[in-house]
């Protein structure tokens, strides 16, 4: 895959893996209304994934579509960031992941609306509205849990603590990003960091939470070096396509 195809693939993988994780909540959320909310976020992510992965397949030009990419690649070929593959944990951990990611994704899609790749720009323009809502929804929950009971505060702190080491990877740049920028397709993710910090800090302050201490970033997702969790996620997600090769559904 060339850099632009890989760029689309990364966008798609982020949405796919997060959508898959969120869909695990369906039927198990803390309240009926929250079940509906989480499913809406998951559906948005799966929709984004479908668009980006289909595009990646087209750009690659080897006849793979979104489904082939989602269901028939092994772990080392997945390019999602490590944050989205993290387990749901408790509701606070899920919210922490969504909070950090949705603010990033909203800033990212806002910038990608100017992409010279018309498809990426169009997907971003549609998805940015979805993501803006996800960011608000997650932020509101961070505030409620952070400034709720002693237990919820402790859980929110633990959830953020779990996810924080994966935040830097969101903004990390590499050759693929550089080539995509050069082609006018990608954007400078590192430049999003300060806006993201401002947003995150404002919500944490309202939630009476401290920003987790900086720590050594864990990287590698973009080049297929994942956590142990992703393999299990894929085992489940890809089961039917693996067990019945060649069948259509």
């Amino acid at each position: 895959m060339d850099a632009v195809a890989t760029y689309a693939l990364r966008l798609g993988d982020d949405s796919l893996i997060l959508g898959q994780r969120l869909s695990e909540w369906c039927g198990h959320a803390p309240a009926l209304e929250v079940d509906l909310s989480l499913a809406n976020v998951a559906l948005d992510q799966i929709g984004q994934a479908t668009h980006f992965l289909n595009l990646a397949g087209e750009l690659e030009g080897k006849g793979r579509d979104g489904d082939a990419l989602a269901f028939r690649r092994d772990v080392m070929d997945f390019t999602n960031c490590l944050l989205v593959e993290q387990p749901n944990g408790d509701f606070a951990q899920t919210i922490a992941r969504q909070f950090l990611f949705s603010h990033y994704q909203e800033l990212l899609f806002t910038a990608l609306m100017a992409s010279k790749n018309a498809t990426i720009a169009a997907i971003a323009a549609k998805a940015v509205k979805e993501t803006a809502y996800h960011a608000v929804l997650a932020s509101d929950w961070v505030v409620r849990l952070g400034d709720g009971t002693d237990e919820s505060k402790a859980r929110m702190i633990a959830g953020l603590d779990w996810m924080w080491r994966f935040a830097d990877e969101l903004f990390a740049m590499d050759d693929v990003d550089a080539a995509a920028i050069k082609a006018g397709v990608g954007i400078d993710k590192a430049a999003l960091r300060s806006s993201w910090d401002t947003r995150i800090d404002a919500v944490l302050a309202e939630a009476t939470l401290m920003r987790p201490a900086s720590r050594r970033p864990v990287l590698g997702g973009r080049v297929g070096r994942h956590s142990e969790h992703l393999g299990h996620l894929l085992t489940e997600m890809q089961f039917l396509q693996r067990a019945y090769p060649g069948a259509t559904w």
């Binding site: 309240a31 209304e33 608000v136 409620r144």
Partner: protein, 97 residues
Amino acid sequence: MSDASKEWPLWEVFVRGKGGLSHRHVGSVHAADAKMALEHARDTYTRRMEGVSLWVLPSAQITSSDPGDAGALFEPAEDKVYRHPTFYKIPDGITHI
């Protein structure tokens, strides 16, 4: 477990279907606060493009008329037929009235 004071309060949800229409009652949601009620209303009642605007209102805040008073409240209007345009007979040839 069913300590009534622990349950998130109930909110009534009103949706404006499209610009120009009034908000219409569509159902209710449970939510801890107004903001959450709006989010829950959005996530529950507008998943199929049902609306362009939402109202939420704590159910406990609604004052409604008593069905027992329905006769006194609504039946007196029944014989005020002169409030309706069809009450008046206008010759066939007359238009724009």
